[in-house]
Symmetry: C2
Subunit: 310 residues, 2 copies
Amino acid sequence: MTDTPLFEHAVVVGIGLIGSSMAHAMRERGLARKITGCDADDAVRARAQEIGIVDAVSADIKKAAKGADLIIIATPVQAAADMIRDIAGASDPGTLIVDVGSVKGAFAGKARALQTHAHIVPCHPVAGTEQSGPDSGFASLFENRWCIVTPLERDAPGYRAAIDKAIALWKAVGAQVEVMDAGHHDIALAITSHLPHLLAFTLVGAADDLETVTQSEIIKYSAGGFRDFTRIAASDPTMWRDVFLTNKDAVLEVLGRFTEELAVLQRAIRWADADTLEDVFSRGRNIRRAIIQSGQETDAPNFGRDKENR
Amino acid sequence: MTDTPLFEHAVVVGIGLIGSSMAHAMRERGLARKITGCDADDAVRARAQEIGIVDAVSADIKKAAKGADLIIIATPVQAAADMIRDIAGASDPGTLIVDVGSVKGAFAGKARALQTHAHIVPCHPVAGTEQSGPDSGFASLFENRWCIVTPLERDAPGYRAAIDKAIALWKAVGAQVEVMDAGHHDIALAITSHLPHLLAFTLVGAADDLETVTQSEIIKYSAGGFRDFTRIAASDPTMWRDVFLTNKDAVLEVLGRFTEELAVLQRAIRWADADTLEDVFSRGRNIRRAIIQSGQETDAPNFGRDKENR
């Protein structure tokens, strides 16, 4: 606990995985004197109070926004874009408003158009698990993960300081910060996050529809590789629906590249082109080694999931 | 250690992940009085002796096969098919020969055609990690995993007893056993293992070829989902080349189903069909829950890989 917290009154809107993790992290590190949790769902607000990660709850974001110096919008992307006008309008001048959405272009476009004295700094902490809801959060979620900040082009007095304060917030919860424009964010995340999720959802759907292999067999033999895909395929459907609806162009672009590469491998299988197969298959080890060395992944075999068996 | 081991002299051909794990497991559980390790690679044989998982090593499989009552062929699929004639020819009458390959049709076809007094029982333990080589094995690899046994149609005297002995071997190293025909195995594994690997290899290849996103960015933001795919994409390239060359028809069949489903989702993204997206995305949680309940997967978020951070 620092003597002077970074923020006097933080409001977290949407108490799911990211919102509750931010509340945990801010509380553990003493980053806000008071935390209010906003959520449209009565049960979620009650649960947040039970867990004790917020000092107060509210169902009324406009009321809650007044008097806050930090507002974190941690809802699915579409909901964030829908509520940013109301939240910015109700906020005090100079309030820092960040979102945490996985797509930045759509939100930034909406935010840029607003006449507001609050400072909106779009952010995306690249961190998460496959779980959802107020019980899924934990304080260390952002540690050693990257948070991408995509500032609006905005000359408003104090906006530069607001960006710095947003960066300070993410560093204070343990993240490393990168600043880039929203368009580049959206293509980078399309390949590193959105396309992997799309493939995982698609594989699960395709497996579900096979008549020749039973679901019981898919479950039994999932240790052959399938189970890995089910982790991200278990992610929140609403959140991911919004990601694909709001990052359409970038996703279709990287999906096109993927299907080209897949066609090459399909042809190599059909024509028994061993060299092409081995060439592509040989690339995987290098990139995994680099990801492990960067601290973004465990070096334990099987993600360490079988540790208890060893 | 049981008083009477299941086998007097076991020969493990190919001391990689599966071969060394079998040696560890048989040794730990006292399943063979003597274990000989065969490998074409001098360094691998030397390393196997250093680790102490074999009693003897040999570079000559024909010589090693004589006097063995169990031979485990744990090489890539193509190599196993190439050497089965020599091994069976050199074996004593009644010797049990199992392989561990991820594709069963090709090996079974080759084995069925052989005139031999040895008993060849094709097997596939659905277990592994992304690592390779004699140091990657461990005794508990097969615990609670499934091993699929695909007996040859063969009326030879003693063959039924050999199947039972193969089943006893897998149960003794901790696996559950399912018996089915080779063709059904190959389609079941195409969807649960081969296609997931193909998608992972393809994604890594496509990411590698993007000009707009740097490799450094892919590494940094890999926690968004990409890193999950790199685990199986780091698997042994030769082994996987052989899988796709020998299970062509089943892989192309399930790949066709996958690309159909992917086209549906691509269209849903292009036309902002929120309902279709949410419908498909909602299937993931159920299958993951079933896999966790079956004991084939950990219930820890993020595979428990971040456990040290919690």
